[in-house]
Symmetry: C2
Subunit: 138 residues, 2 copies
DNA sequence: TATCTTAATGCAACTGAGTTGCATTTGTCA
DNA sequence: TGACAAATGCAACTCAGTTGCATTAAGATA
């Protein structure tokens, strides 16, 4: 899967009348270089580590903004809200001990089988999340 | 599926040193007569409608307690935490407009297929949730 | 490159779900 | 009927996320 760079995304946003700001660039870079979903708390921790001051309101607003622009998408894993760059529909393994999240190949025929069984419900989205113990924790 | 009555459940809890209280009986009855998962807000609304005063701390503690005793189990649907009486493993359809939840037949071979692909991860639990529009809302 | 417009930011104060400590009440059993 | 602990209610708290508003700064335009 070829990943779109931060530059390309910023250019696209520019075209829609949005600006390339420090916070926006930082957050985009973090999402692009991460192989797993990130929560607002993850982002804030990373900023703290890099000693970069980004206000929490800005983080929340930027997540909201990027999700609205379809640059990232929101997923709920247990009680925590995460975001990630949309890839092919896929699922997540969540380790209940160390909280590590791993992305998982999609289940190809899943949705089709469900659609057939539920003609009356228009499916817009679905999520398959698997909880357990990872190799290190089990 | 034969549903266990509130009496049977209370008896079981009695055996473990717990009491049959007004709040406990009320909450159990609500779960038993509901065909869909309930959130703490749902319970509190129902109490308000029936003009029955149950403190919010009591509701939260009772949910925690019943979940700990495996009488109900917790599920996360979008941003809201729900609880339901455990049935055969199943899934949920959530209408994004009216927020109505419907229970769904289990996907039989789902877990088995995933297990084979991920030998390194010990699966303890999983959830498949489907979001969209119900018959009325679409 | 100075100016202007408005997108983006930072701050403080707020909301709403859920939690905690503690004093009081109440179910159950001897 | 007491005694004991489980359960309750209340107030005060935590924590994620939101809002209003004044300030800053991208970046387009002159």
């Amino acid at each position: 899967m070829v990943m779109e760079g931060a530059g390309k995304i910023l250019e696209k946003l520019r075209g829609r009348g949005h600006r390339s700001t420090k916070a926006r660039r930082l957050i985009l870079e973090l999402f692009i270089s991460s192989d797993r979903p990130l929560s607002s708390a993850d982002l804030r921790k990373m900023f703290l580590l890099k000693k970069m001051a980004v206000n929490k309101t800005t983080v929340y607003r930027e997540l909201e903004f990027l999700a609205g622009e379809k640059i990232i998408e929101e997923i709920q894993l247990g009680k925590t809200r995460y975001f990630e760059i949309p890839k092919k529909r896929h699922h997540h393994l969540v380790c209940l001990k160390c909280r590590r999240i791993e992305c998982l190949e999609p289940e190809k025929n899943l949705l089709k089988r469900i659609t057939i069984k539920n003609k009356d419900f228009k499916i817009l989205n679905y999520s398959l999340e698997i909880f357990g113990l990872c190799l290190k924790c089990k």
